[in-house]
């Protein structure tokens, strides 16, 4: 029956994926708090459950039962839609990421790369709308900063993606992982990884690029006027974005689901992907614990005067290498 393949299975996959991501979000907050505590020589959450494992549950319950406050001076429809808009791109980008051999999360479209770029372009909308509709100067400033930052860092990000695309020679992420790569391709890819990671940090508004919400100058940036579950949605968007971008980096730079025996035993694929994602998430937290926030002009100068030229040069060299060696 075509019905099954067209509608039922994709919906089932989507539901499973969302459940996994939302659980992942909850435990990522725990993971980050625990790790940060270790970096700071503290204990971190340790009251709710063993090792504080029930802390995310308690936080979720608290957020859900908080009073829904909509300030009277906001533009109501946009104010309410903005948190959802912030969350959606982080979730739908997963559709094209391969989780096991020949198996994408939802669909193997022939334009996986462009899908990632396009959805990344949508991510700034949630923040812009939140900042504008809040009708608050701090919110607006935060939103302006975040959108400027995201637009600026999307350029080098796109250039590095194009370089990877030139090497892969295929728009599909499933094929990217399936096709074997030569050793020099891996080496050349890893050269780009630090730069790519910096762009990702800026794209996800993570520390040290968390200028949109710098709590000591902008209160909390675009999310100042939000509370309860609406605030949690922004929080969720940020953390699910971390998971998503980690999965993308694992797929692009570290072979995604690949690992010993992953070809024969299919269920090992998601396990390897999970391990790689956790390692990359650790990197996110490690950076947050170690590096302080730059000033806004430093951030912009770094993006435009350093990362962008590096991206262009990298792309040019990649094209030459691909023509000469492939």
């Amino acid at each position: 029956m075509d019905w099954l393949n067209l509608i039922v299975f994709p919906i089932l996959r989507t539901v499973v994926l969302f459940l996994v991501l939302l659980t992942g979000f909850a435990y990522l907050t725990w993971f980050e708090r625990k790790l940060l505590a270790r970096f700071h020589v503290r204990y971190g959450p340790n009251r709710a459950g063993k090792f504080g494992l029930l802390q995310p549950v308690a936080d979720a319950v608290k957020a859900m039962f908080k009073e829904e406050i909509v300030p009277s001076h906001v533009d109501k429809p946009i104010y309410l839609v903005a948190p959802a808009l912030a969350l959606i791109p982080a979730l739908i980008i997963w559709a094209v990421i391969p989780v096991a051999k020949d198996t994408p999360a939802i669909a193997d479209v022939g334009i996986g790369f462009l899908w990632i770029l396009a959805v990344a372009g949508l991510e700034s909308y949630g923040l812009i709308l939140a900042g504008w509709s809040s009708n608050n100067n701090y919110s607006l400033l935060g939103a302006l900063r975040s959108s400027a930052q995201m637009i600026s860092y999307e350029l080098p990000l796109g250039l590095f993606l194009v370089s990877i695309l030139i090497l892969a020679g295929s728009f599909s992420l499933v094929e990217l992982v399936d096709n074997p790569r030569a050793w020099w391709e891996w080496l050349w890819l890893w050269v780009a990884f630090p730069f790519f990671f910096i762009c990702i940090l800026a794209e996800t508004n993570r520390s040290p690029f968390d200028l949109p919400e710098t709590e000591n100058e902008l209160v909390a940036g675009y999310q100042t006027e939000y509370g309860g579950i609406k605030f949690s949605l922004f929080y969720m968007a940020e953390y699910i974005n971390m998971i998503t971008t980690s999965a993308i980096m694992a797929t692009l730079f570290f072979g995604g689901w690949r690992g010993p025996f992953a070809e024969e035993i299919v269920w090992l694929g998601p396990v390897y992907l999970f391990i790689k994602v956790v390692v990359l998430l650790f990197l996110f937290v490690w950076v947050r614990a170690s590096i302080s926030r730059p000033r806004y002009d430093q951030l912009m100068r770094f993006g435009w005067k350093f990362l962008l030229p590096v991206g262009i040069v990298y792309m040019a060299i990649t094209a030459v290498l691909a023509v000469l060696l492939k």
């Binding site: 334009i111 462009l114 372009g121 909308y125 504008w132 637009i151 728009f171």
Partner: protein, 172 residues
């Protein structure tokens, strides 16, 4: 005499919904009294067009639409409004002194489109269209062979615009 009611297929229903959504958004862009809302309805209309591209199995065009129009151009518009208008006070009238000429222009454009629709010999049967990969490769090929002059001219134009913008914006 029984009246025959055409039962639309699923595809047609989806098309109708998306087309109506796009048209409604387009209308709201023009009649909305708040410039920021207009910009957001424009994003909605662009999304509707992208959805119709998906329906026609032109995924590349759909993603291109989202990437270029929604991700870049509409963001720029929203950004410009946020930077220049008073935040919530931006009430604008949809009418101004050139509305008559605007309507005339729109009418002429509409007639031209209609004439175009009549004129083009639409093929009855769709030809085999190269899918995805070969389509994108073919597109790239055309850019550096048949249309290389136009491609370079556009590049030059953008370069000039970029330099002009920098000249206007720099500190004097």
């Amino acid at each position: 005499m029984p009246i025959e009611i055409p039962i639309p297929t699923v595809t047609q229903v989806i098309f109708l919904v998306m087309a109506l959504f796009t048209a409604a958004c387009g209308l709201m862009v023009v009649i909305s009294r708040n410039l920021f809302h207009s910009a957001l309805f424009l994003v909605g209309a662009l999304f509707g067009v992208a959805a119709i591209f998906v329906l026609l199995e032109a995924e590349f065009l759909a993603v291109g639409q989202v990437l270029v129009y929604i991700g870049a151009i509409a963001t720029l518009i929203v950004f410009a409004i946020m930077l220049t208008r008073g935040m919530m006070r931006g009430r604008t009238s949809p009418m101004n002194h050139v509305s008559g000429r605007g309507a005339l222009g729109a009418l002429v454009f509409f007639v031209a489109l209609l004439a175009f629709l009549k004129k083009v010999p639409w093929p009855e049967q769709a030809q085999a269209i190269p899918v995805d990969e070969s389509l994108i490769a073919g597109l790239g090929d055309k850019f550096v062979t048949t249309y290389v002059v136009a491609f370079e001219a556009v590049g030059l134009l953008l370069m000039v615009a970029l330099i002009g913008a920098v000249m206007l914006a720099r500190d004097r």
